[in-house]
């Protein structure tokens, strides 16, 4: 018990530090929000142009929830890449904390940040499109899927964090590759059924596919979570597999970096 409390306290170190970083860069955070809102709006307007409210909401959901997942994912990878280019990673790795404690702290902050960011976007979009009627939506379903999907994305984020750990110059950019491949196969803006057969197979392996399907069922049709086991169960399974897999992979990468001297070499 004492162990868990002390590890949680250490986790909080990462939450607090990331919060300090956000606070210090608040101007940029605001700019980032503008960027995200503008992007989501311009995609949603395709639906408005077609005069189809259902398409409009489908696109809004795609834009907003994809934004959440990618924010969570990139914050986790960024936590490592920021430390990599500031040079503090060696100090963090020397501290008496377990790696899962560190990654847990980063993930908790990423989720909190993602929620605030996404809620702000959603608010702007609802104001912009008054024809949408939130009262007919099942928000509980949406929240449930976001939470479930977060676990899988935390696992993928940990694996993505390996890239900046091992490749300081280009690693962070490489995480975008993972992100855009997920975007392509997960049916964010179009039904998965339009993809070629082999891509549809991949779409079943992406947690985002199930998150978006679930959120859409909740918000478009008001379906409760209990009616969506087909999307819930794969997400649970993926979370159970991906988080330990992410931790394991990160641990392997750390060990490799320490063996080959990739953590840093100046000094």
């Amino acid at each position: 018990m004492a162990l868990i409390t002390s590890e949680l306290k250490a986790s909080y170190a990462f939450v607090e530090r990331n919060f300090f970083l956000t606070r210090r860069y608040w101007g940029w955070e605001l700019a980032f929000l503008v960027y995200s809102v503008a992007g989501a709006l311009s995609i949603s307007l395709i639906g408005a142009a077609a005069g189809d409210d259902r398409l409009l909401l489908t696109l809004i959901i795609g834009a907003v929830f994809w934004n959440y997942l990618s924010v969570v994912f990139s914050w986790i990878a960024d936590t490592i890449s920021v430390e990599r280019w500031e040079g503090t990673l060696e100090y963090t790795f020397m501290a008496p904390v377990r790696r899962w404690t560190q990654l847990l702290g980063s993930c908790l902050y990423a989720m909190a940040y993602g929620l605030v960011h996404t809620a702000a976007m959603l608010l702007v979009l609802l104001v912009f499109f008054p024809q949408l009627r939130p009262e007919s939506m099942n928000l509980l379903t949406a929240a449930g899927f976001v939470l479930l999907g977060s676990f899988s994305f935390v696992g993928i984020g940990m694996m993505a964090a390996i890239l900046p750990l091992l490749y300081v110059e280009r690693g962070a950019q490489m995480t975008f590759v993972i992100q855009s491949c997920l975007l392509l196969v997960s049916g964010v803006y179009y039904p998965v059924s339009v993809l070629p057969g082999w891509m549809q197979v991949l779409s079943h392996l992406s947690p985002a596919t199930y998150v978006l399907a679930g959120v859409r069922a909740g918000l478009l049709d008001g379906t409760p979570v209990t009616g969506l086991w087909g999307d819930v169960l794969p997400l649970i399974a993926m979370g159970i597999v991906l988080i330990p897999a992410g931790l394991w992979a990160f641990g392997r990468a750390e060990r490799y970096a320490k063996r080959t001297g990739k953590l840093k070499r100046v000094g």
Partner: protein, 296 residues
């Protein structure tokens, strides 16, 4: 061998107590740092032969001592420090800190050590206080107590309280280095690894940092490994000195011993500079290296 560890000091050091509790009774008498036949190779390019960064190095530091590691650039000083810090894995050999194996008792060892390297790495946009608070939390320290301790340590190093809230990037290199030292001291390490802590500092800052290292060593009973290119600094601070060349130990002893050795055996002047030139120069042949390894 001059162990001056007073038993009551254990009480003042919760981190040490923790680690000691988890280890065997031999801890109380174990050396602060024991490095045994450690070897580390790097192979940045698969087509080329690996670089032997540390080759069969052994060291033994008694508690409360300051041990200097000297050598030319690329002789393996930083690699040795990283190996002890657990930032690199050992290819061969083993390392113990206060009787705890650095691989087996990783977390316990981590609580006992901290390191300052030549580059003061920080979150440059964050303030010294924010950076130090993060470090303190990682070591399980309470925020409020850490804030006070950080203010005190930084004040002692000549950094005014008014600077603690501004981004670190606005500070001079000397000041940043002092904050780096404060970060390490905040966690009360019993083994402090200082990798060229005064390189690039102006003469005044250098003296302040040196005085502080002495104080930490004397008042807080910290054992210190110090690498430096400043021979006057080594002479002033170090109880014993190890000279590295090409990753190997070529000489080890107290400053007077080493000086006498070069004077008697090589007819050199009795200065630390002569010691450095003699043992790290390229003109020496191999049997000199072997001679140097005998600790006398």
């Amino acid at each position: 061998m001059t162990t001056t560890l007073a038993p009551e000091l254990n009480i003042a050091r919760p981190a040490f107590e923790d680690a000691a509790a988890s280890a065997s009774a031999t801890v109380a008498t174990a050396p602060a740092l024991l490095v045994e036949h450690v070897t580390k190779r790097f192979r940045p390019d698969r087509r080329k032969a690996p670089v032997l960064a540390i080759a069969d190095v052994s060291l033994r530091l008694e508690r409360g001592s300051i041990h200097g590691v000297l050598g030319a650039n690329g002789s393996g000083k930083s690699t040795l420090i990283r190996l002890v810090s657990g930032l690199l894995t050992l290819d061969e050999g083993r390392v113990e800190v206060f009787g705890l194996d650095i691989e087996r008792d990783e977390l316990a060892v981590k609580r006992l050590i901290n390191r300052v390297s030549v580059d003061a790495a920080f979150f440059k946009k964050l303030s010294p206080m924010e950076n130090l608070l993060f470090a303190a939390r990682l070591y399980g320290l309470e925020a409020e107590a850490s804030r006070r301790a950080a203010t005190r340590i930084l004040g002692r190093l000549g950094i005014a309280q008014s600077r603690l809230g501004r981004p670190i990037e606005q500070m001079s290199r000397g000041m940043q280095q002092k904050v780096a030292i404060a970060r390490a001291l905040l966690t009360s390490p019993t083994l402090l690894l200082l990798d060229e802590p005064t390189t690039g500092l102006d003469p005044r800052s250098k003296l302040e940092v040196q005085a502080f290292i002495e104080e930490v060593n004397a008042m807080h009973d910290a054992t210190i490994v110090l690498t430096t290119h400043d021979l006057a600094e080594a002479e002033r601070l170090c109880d014993r000195i190890t000279l590295l060349r090409g990753g190997r130990v070529v000489a080890e002893g107290t400053t007077p011993e080493l000086k006498r050795l070069v004077a008697e055996r090589y007819g050199q002047p009795e200065t630390l500079e002569a010691v450095f030139m003699t043992f790290t120069g390229r003109s020496l042949d191999d049997d000199v290296e072997e001679d140097g390894e005998t600790d006398d």
